[in-house]
Amino acid sequence: MTEDKKEKEEERKGKYIIEREYIEDERIIEPEKLDIGGIDASGRWGVIVLPRVISDFDHSLIEEVKKLPRGKHIERCWQCGLCTAVCPVAHKEPNFNPRYFIYIVKMGYKSEIKKLKKYIYLCQGCGLCTEVCPKHVDPSGVMMALNILFDKL
């Protein structure tokens, strides 16, 4: 993971911000050209950062998952983390986190989904999570459902 971070380093937007790793790229708006009444404020001087405040919860995603065959019980999840605890993939690639996938789908955080959707294919379908899930959410099935859903996003 750190290799591709290096060569992205140079032309990365907002690299001068100290806490850069905690701001999504699409929220930094850096104009090439910005003229304020004759003063050239292009580049860093003209940057604004959009807020990440979520003003409304979007439940459309979870309705879609519930329609898919193995996504029926996604609403039972209480975020206890057992699925990720037993998941062999999660302990190797922490960006693949079944609990977190279910969470961002339930909350409808599209920006998080866009950021992490490329890891969903890592699910091996081993079913360990479904075996231990205390609420019988069948996370393994939900992961398959999310595979379908994330393609459409």
């Binding site: 209480w78 975020q79 206890c80 983390g81 057992l82 990720t84 605890a85 037993v86 998941c87 999660a90 302990h91 922490p94 986190n97 609990r99 360990l128 231990v132 205390p134 609420k135 019988h136």
Partner: protein, 351 residues
Amino acid sequence: MEGNKSILVIGAGPAGLQASKDIAEFGFRVVLVEKNSELGGAPIRWRYHTLAPDFVPTEKVLGPLIDFVKNNSLITVYTNSIVEGYERKDDFFKIRILNLRNKSISYENVSSVIVATGFEHYNASVDPRYGYGINPNVIGINELEIMISNGKVVRHDGKIPKRIGFILCVGSRDKATNPWCCTVCCGVSIKQAIEIKKIIPDSQIYIIYMDIRTIGLWEKLYWQSMENYHINYIRGRVGEIYWTGEKLLVKGEDTLVRGPFEALFDMIVLAVGMEPGEGTKQVAKVFGLRVNEYGFLSPRIPNIHYDSGKDGIFLAGACVAPMSVEEAIGEGSAAALQAIKYSMKRDRKVP
């Protein structure tokens, strides 16, 4: 009709003892039947050192009850015995008591019955994740309580553990095992964590939890554990405990701070929850009492615990629902009053 002057109490746990004391003090004769050899139920069987939330020694709470029941002439105690069967006469019960040791049968006539058969700890060996019974140093909070009473917490090889982890909700809140919350294992685990910290001051103690449910006045345990005793809390679950030969590799997820984690622990304590004991099932069969889908005795109205729905039979304590010692004692008194009222009414003294 000497029968209507005595009451049967099944189970000598906190509820049963309190019921027997109240009935005897009221002047009625008590027949106390206890499956094990000593009185006191789970707190004494597992030698609870102190009781949450104020670390009151169990001895101070149950000791007087046990002494009173042992020395009071009105109370006949049958230990190592169970109620094998009964016949319902017109206004009293003919109880058949079987002594498990010498298989002798004895009969008692009583006017009413109080069932206080209590709970059993969940047997964690059923759940393969924790390796309870296979991995050394994976113990239950009941076994830990014995160690704390001895004032010495040690590993299987006798050494002092440095990093100790408590895993809450073992066997509880899980559709595969017991889908209910045992109400006390958070408070008890935190109490034990504080007691360990007193015994081993430089130990590192972690409590791995889903929700901390220290209800009511027990909340001060939670705050005290962080403010004065520096107990660490990880919000998440444990997927696997692996014995590496000298330490326990615990794999889990910290949903708030660390993400998926693995850590070496010297000792893991499983907060095993409460489930209906063997005694409760046996008595339910004998008296034909209704049992809910979880296996607990089901009162006629769920919110009124003492009323079993059968005439003259009353319920008390953890056989109805998971509860703490203080609640069980309270329910013991409640059931005693109902049994006395019922017995006196049979005697036409009370209109």
